[in-house]
Symmetry: C2
Subunit: 182 residues, 2 copies
């Protein structure tokens, strides 16, 4: 949030401009996510739905009838949460479970007619927002930013600082072999 490197609020270590820019990115990322989430909540609420529900609806609309576990894997979240959302969508008449020939215990979640309709309307609303925003951003910069975010995400996932700062054990620094992202 403060774009200022802020000379170690708790007396950490000397400034590092490259690291500072990464921290700056992290704060910008958090803020942008929060705003995007809020906008998505507003958008979906206009159709009586929610952002997480739209995630499931869209997944099924795009990839076809899927099991709860498949959807969860695709989204990178725990399957228990998807199960709950799927049950709610079924209760709301937007989806139904259909027999899965490939797995007796794991039925396929498919959209009903109502589910397809609401999904189409929600995606249209999303598209409208993207079109409203797009003219104010340089497409090249946007694509570059997306590239940086992807690289940042992978780096952050691969860094796994040793848990034991309290133990004397000091591991050999995070090993990151990727190229520098420009």
């Amino acid at each position: 949030m403060p774009r200022e490197p802020d000379p170690s609020p708790a007396g950490v270590a000397p400034p590092d401009s490259a690291a500072a820019s990464v921290v700056e990115l992290a704060w910008a990322l958090l803020d942008a996510y929060t705003r995007m989430k809020a906008a998505s909540d507003r958008l979906t609420a206009a159709e009586g739905q929610s952002t997480p529900r739209l995630g499931v609806l869209r997944e099924v609309a795009v990839h076809g009838p899927s099991t709860v576990a498949q959807i969860a894997r695709q989204r990178g979240v725990a399957r228990q949460g998807i199960q709950r959302l799927a049950d709610e969508l079924v209760d709301a008449g937007l989806a139904r479970f259909t027999p899965n020939p490939a797995h007796q215990r794991s039925p396929l979640l498919a959209l009903t007619r109502a589910g397809r309709d609401v999904t189409r309307r929600l995606l249209a609303r999303q598209d409208a927002v993207a079109r409203a925003i797009a003219p104010h951003l340089e497409p090249t910069s946007v694509r570059q930013a997306a590239d940086v975010l992807r690289a940042f995400g992978e780096l952050v996932s691969s860094v796994d600082l040793p848990g034991g700062m309290r133990g004397a054990r000091r591991r050999p620094a995070p090993r990151l072999t990727g190229r520098v992202v420009r």
Copy 2:
């Protein structure tokens, strides 16, 4: 639907290519946020804390003793959630409420010695991650990406599509007057 004529005078990109890059950014943003959140959860768990708790600890460490409402405003979240986190931090002995001369009902949350120590360790861990990541990213690109994220966040916040896509009422479309962000 978008009042945007989207000038695509033969030769330029297809009508919604710019919008497509925005959608791409949105997905990259969601993914990067999810990964960063997971990394932060791991990092804070190593000190027996959590990402939301660190948010409060850092806020108080950086800005000094603050009321719950001040912290919530600063973070842009509901004060009820901060209240709960603050109570937990007090229970854990990391913070305490001190009388607020300016407001009888709204005490100041201040760090205890233990709170300062754990905050310092957590920020040091964050810094270590930033330093591990930084060499793999171009600082200029990172700063540009942060700029794009800030612009995206503000645009997304200011767009407020009319609730009634099916209602006859048609509002004058989102008014966005900002410059194009390069």
